[in-house]
């Protein structure tokens, strides 16, 4: 047997190891050749049944990353998609039916078709390492886990947990996998091989047989109840006309035994309907855009930052510092005195405990966050980020000192959102050293970071800045030094229009509801209240340049009602929540289009002015920087596919 992607090792005791090593790839993916060879392996094992068959990965990176993405994207017609699904569905059914015991030894990422392969085995072992993650992320690409995931996951972990995993696409770590029954064991790497040998020969009943009675009922007679509950949950986050895939998953599990191929083509939950739906195409586009952003910074050579110095321990600076620490950096955090730094340290301590869920790990993280009132960390820092209040003179003075003390190869960056980078750089001895690294609030939640190149910023400095952004697991978007860069420059006119609507007597609730219905994570008025009306007034002057700013905004601002932070803005805020009354009547779609127009216009203008390199990147920036409805594929894509508004 000649295998290009697998290695088959038979041990003397009768255990066979099927070791996946996808050719010409750093990760294991499940392309046609890999799947064909899996068939050969199963045929071979049918002839000479092993005492046990164990699947594992030869790759450093992880177990299996999922489908072959090129094959997957070229399956853009229902016919091609059907072939792709059929292949996986049949292969895994065949694997699940073998008489000898099978086991998946999962170390590192185990995504999509990888998880479905593991589910088709009798046993699963999760190796207890931070990198081990199970997920069925198909829903995020607008499709369904059609290789048996919808069939087997509910039988193994129960339908409620299964729905949660399939409808959100979220990652399940090794410990959680064991706890929910997805993995039979969670073991450290030092005993994983031995554990796999012992478990595959154990004769233990498979998880399916051990599922609690209530869960079995929910997989059987109570299916409809579970499905209706799941539908309600999904409806809170995604409308069916925008995101058909989660609804399809529920329906295919409930009515078709998890078999995508069994759904008649004319049903809205069929494979045919999904493949033809624009959302699917758009979500795949977003996936590739994300990949494109991830590529920035790859050109920066010999730059692997480990020490970061952040100046300004306010909410932004403190959160940037904490995020960098969480991603492994050692961070010195500077402000005028230790009392100003302390609240940021307190916040970081809670953040680490929540994120790391391990006291020792949280302590080690906190050890890497160093209060530095005198700015001593500048000397050793690889990246220096200024996040002080927006005052040109203060920044220039600060940078004069930083430039004098920083290492020659260190990245010197400003997190400014409203000042011109070139003006700040004017005081530099070497203005080509300054770059903008612009984070969004809340730092931990927002994936995008704008990397701003000023007129004189050296290209390699911008590349290093992008490499740093990647290093802390954010998505870098290169932009030019124009007011508001990309994200704020498109949000400004949009929020301005929304506030003008308020001036016209439309209730903020109605406006926000219209945009949430369109697919925004938060309406523009609530967003204004959240960022603060002082910020909104200032940004309005700079970004909209409107001679007559929204009256209500000015009124609230002058009365000191600044939104969420002061407890009152367009809304009253109680316990961090906007108090909303009923939504007015009227066509919300038309209302939404009115506010989207300035956003789309601004995006188009910024593309043509070259603030962002092309339409694709503009779409990526607006989606990952504002949460702009992902099903649209981004504002430029939306305008192009749906038509001008």
């Amino acid at each position: 047997m000649n295998l290009k992607n697998w290695k088959l090792e038979r041990e003397a005791d009768g255990i066979t190891w099927a070791i996946l090593d996808t050719a010409n790839s750093s990760t294991n993916t499940l392309g046609a050749e890999v799947m064909t060879e899996l068939g050969l392996i199963l045929a071979e094992c049918e002839k000479n049944p092993p005492r046990g068959l164990i699947f594992k990965s030869a790759k450093e990176a992880g177990f299996i990353a999922g489908a072959n993405i090129e094959e997957f994207t070229s399956a853009d017609t229902p016919e091609k998609a059907r072939v792709l699904i059929q292949r996986g569905w049949d292969s895994y059914n065949r694997l699940a039916a073998v008489r000898y015991p099978t086991l998946a030894l999962v170390r590192g990422h185990c995504m999509g078709g990888g998880t479905e392969l593991a589910l088709a085995c009798r046993y699963r072992i999760a190796v207890d390492e931070p990198g081990t993650k199970f997920a069925l992320p198909e829903v995020m690409l607008g499709i369904v886990p059609g290789w048996g995931g919808m069939l087997r996951l509910p039988q193994i972990v129960g339908p409620v947990a299964a729905m949660d995993m399939m409808l959100t696409g979220k990652n399940i770590d090794a410990k959680r996998a064991k706890k929910m029954g997805l993995a039979d064991e969670c073991v450290p790497p030092r005993v994983m091989d031995n554990a796999a040998r012992m478990l595959v020969l154990s004769g233990n009943a498979p998880r399916q047989d051990k599922l609690p009675f209530l869960q079995k009922l929910m997989n059987g007679p109570l299916k409809a109840m579970v499905a209706s509950g799941a539908k309600k949950q999904v409806a809170k986050r995604a409308r069916q006309e925008h995101y058909p895939a989660p609804y399809a998953i529920i329906d295919q599990w409930q009515n078709y035994g998890g078999n995508t191929l069994a759904v008649p083509a004319d049903k809205p939950t069929s494979l045919d309907a999904l493949v033809k739906h624009p959302t699917t195409r758009n979500l795949i586009r977003v996936f590739f855009l994300q990949d494109r952003l991830k590529g920035f910074g790859k050109d920066a050579r010999n730059f692997s930052p480990t020490r970061v110095h952040v100046v300004g321990a306010g909410v932004m600076g403190g959160d940037i510092a904490a995020w960098c620490v969480l991603r492994g950096m050692t961070v010195t955090l500077q402000d005028q005195n230790v009392e100003r730094i302390a609240p940021a340290v307190g916040r970081a301590a809670k953040f680490f405990e929540k994120k790391l869920r391990d006291k020792k790990a949280a302590r080690f993280a906190l050890d890497r966050l160093i209060a530095d009132p005198k700015g001593e960390g500048v000397r050793q820092a690889d990246v220096i980020i200024e996040a002080v209040f927006e005052n040109l003179e203060a920044k220039q003075k600060l940078f004069a000192d930083i430039e004098a003390r920083a290492k020659p190869e260190a990245v010197i960056a400003s997190n400014t959102s409203s000042l011109k980078l070139a003006d700040i750089a004017a005081s530099f001895k070497d203005p080509s050293r300054l770059v903008g690294i612009h984070f969004f609030n809340p730092v931990a939640m927002m994936p995008l970071v704008e990397v701003v190149a000023g007129e004189r910023t050296a290209p390699e400095v911008a590349q290093r800045a992008a490499a740093f952004v990647r290093r802390i697991d954010k998505l870098p978007l290169p932009v030019k030094d124009a007011p508001g860069f990309l994200v704020n420059a498109v949000l400004g006119p949009y929020m301005n229009e929304a506030m003008k609507c308020v001036d016209e007597g439309i209730a903020p609730e109605t406006i926000d509801a219209a945009l949430v219905a369109f697919g925004m994570p938060m309406g523009p008025i609530e967003l204004a209240d959240t960022v603060g009306l002082d910020v909104a007034v200032h940004a309005g002057k700079q970004l909209v340049g409107d001679a007559s700013p929204p009256k209500k905004l000015v009124e609230l601002f002058e009365a000191g009602k600044l939104g969420k932070k002061s407890g009152q803005g367009f809304y009253a805020w109680v316990d961090g929540k906007a108090q909303k009354s009923g939504v007015g009547a009227g066509d919300t779609a038309i209302l939404a289009q009115r506010m989207l127009k300035p956003l789309l216009d601004a995006t188009q203008r910024l593309v043509s002015e070259g603030v962002v390199a092309d339409a694709e990147l503009a779409d990526a920036g607006v989606i990952f920087g504002t949460g702009f409805a992902p099903y649209t594929g981004g504002p430029m894509n939306y305008r192009q596919t749906v038509g001008p508004v």
Binding site: T330, T332, A342, V345, G346, K350, L366, D372, E376
Partner: protein, 429 residues
């Protein structure tokens, strides 16, 4: 004896000393050392990974900080490849760490060493009594349910409620079975030191610390921030309103009723950490460091455990002799204030012809140490004595004083439970 090759002090820092409030303090020993140490390392021109080793003096590491020197080195970000170890010489553990670093630098094993000391005395554990330990042991052996239940019948409330107080054990001499305070009573008796005199020295210690705080003379302190964002910026044991009248009200603690030593004229039980960064001449060159001082001699000595407080006399005198110096030829002295009676005893011993002759083999007494040169910014009576940290703190602060006053040379000496003394000769650069 080989000539002493000077070792350079590059920098130093310490945590604030936090008085024990009879509950476990907000920071563990390794927390204190890490927070102070990382700030110190952050301002150096080299990375923590470039240290040759980390040496920590600690008299009472907690059970989850075994070989605390290594724990701290890893927490400081020195990486897997920088060795870390722990030394223990009771009250001089922090000074022993310095001397161990010096020895390794002098014989060429190391070039760049982070050395210091730490203790979190507020976290000293309560221990089970021997009877209780036996009960646990038998319980573990009991197999049947009946046997286990039977064990409960043998459990006495008194066994559970009379734990051994770890700190009392630690501060009791294991050989002569005297509490440290009782050895200080010995000195008071020997040299005729009155309660009034001890209390005066104690008030002076508080006054000096109070004034030094107001003048900003403790800038070696790295403020601590806890996980709730609370700041601990200063030594908090000092009483700005300390008075003779106030101290007179306290009862003798060690020899109850008839003694003179009270908590008020003893050092405080405190949590703290202190560090020095030591380097060879080569390392100074290599990393272009700017040393702030150098250590030009060290000495250890031992004496009767019941007189342990006179350890500084026995350790410092040979250094004076080697360098041909009188007591007042030095610009400043730090003698760790374990007890007022003990520091005063040292001064009196040098004045005492009989003691100098019989114990030190000197023909004439060394004379009177100028009180204005001794513990210029106060000492452990006001600041506290986190056992392992004090030996490093007095060397660090001595250098601070020399630099501030633009003076040349000083001695830091410390008494050691068990009957020893240590001394370090420091020069400003």
């Amino acid at each position: 004896m080989k000539p002493f090759e000077p070792v350079y002090i590059i920098d130093g820092a310490r945590s604030p000393f936090l008085k024990s409030r009879n509950v476990p303090g907000p920071f563990s020993a390794s927390d204190l050392a890490t927070i102070a140490g990382r700030a110190l390392l952050a301002r150096q021109p080299f990375a923590p990974e470039e240290l040759d080793e980390v040496i920590v003096g600690c008299a009472g590491p907690s059970v989850d900080e075994v070989n605390i020197g290594r724990v701290i080195a890893l927490r400081l970000g020195c990486g897997n490849k920088v060795p870390g170890w722990t030394v223990m010489r009771n009250c001089a553990s922090g000074m022993q760490a310095l001397d161990s670093a010096i020895a390794n630098i002098q014989n060429g094993r190391s070039q760049l060493v982070l050395a210091g000391g730490v203790d979190a005395l507020s976290r000293t554990p309560l221990l089970y009594s021997d009877k209780m330990v036996m009960w646990f042991s038998r319980m573990a052996q009991a197999r049947s349910l009946g046997a286990k239940l039977g064990m409960f019948a043998k459990l006495r409330l008194g066994m559970l409620l009379t734990p051994v107080i770890g700190i009392v054990k630690g501060l009791t001499d294991p050989v002569v079975n005297l509490m440290m305070g009782q050895t200080a009573e010995n000195l008071a008796w020997k040299f005729g030191i009155s309660r009034q005199q001890m209390d005066e020295v104690s008030v002076a210690s508080h006054k000096k610390v109070s004034n030094a705080q107001k003048a900003g003379h403790f800038d070696e302190i790295v403020p601590l921030i806890d996980a709730n964002g609370k700041v601990y910026a200063e030594d908090d044991g000092v009483r700005h309103d300390s008075s003779i009248e106030g101290l007179a009200k306290l009862k003798p603690f060690f020899d109850r009723k008839y003694g003179k030593i009270t908590p008020g004229n003893s050092s405080q039980i405190t949590d703290g950490a202190a560090w020095l960064l030591l380097a060879s001449a080569e390392a100074v060159e290599k990393y272009k460091l700017s040393p702030i001082g150098k250590i030009t001699d060290t000495q250890w000595a031992a004496l009767d455990p019941a007189q342990m407080g006179l350890g500084p006399v026995h350790a410092a005198t040979p250094i004076l002799q080697r360098h041909g110096l009188g007591l007042n030829d030095l610009d400043a002295w730090e003698i760790n204030e374990a007890f007022a009676a003990q520091v005063m005893g040292c001064v009196k011993a040098w004045e005492d012809p009989a003691y100098c002759k019989e114990e030190l083999g000197l023909d004439a007494p060394l004379g009177t140490l100028d009180a204005n040169k001794l513990n210029i910014d106060g000492g452990a009576i006001a600041l506290g004595h986190p056992v392992g940290a004090s030996g490093t703190r007095i060397v660090l602060h001595l250098l601070q004083i020399l630099r501030r006053e633009k003076k040349q040379r000083g001695m830091a000496a410390i008494c050691i439970g068990g009957g020893q003394g240590g001394a370090v000769l420091v020069e400003n650069l």
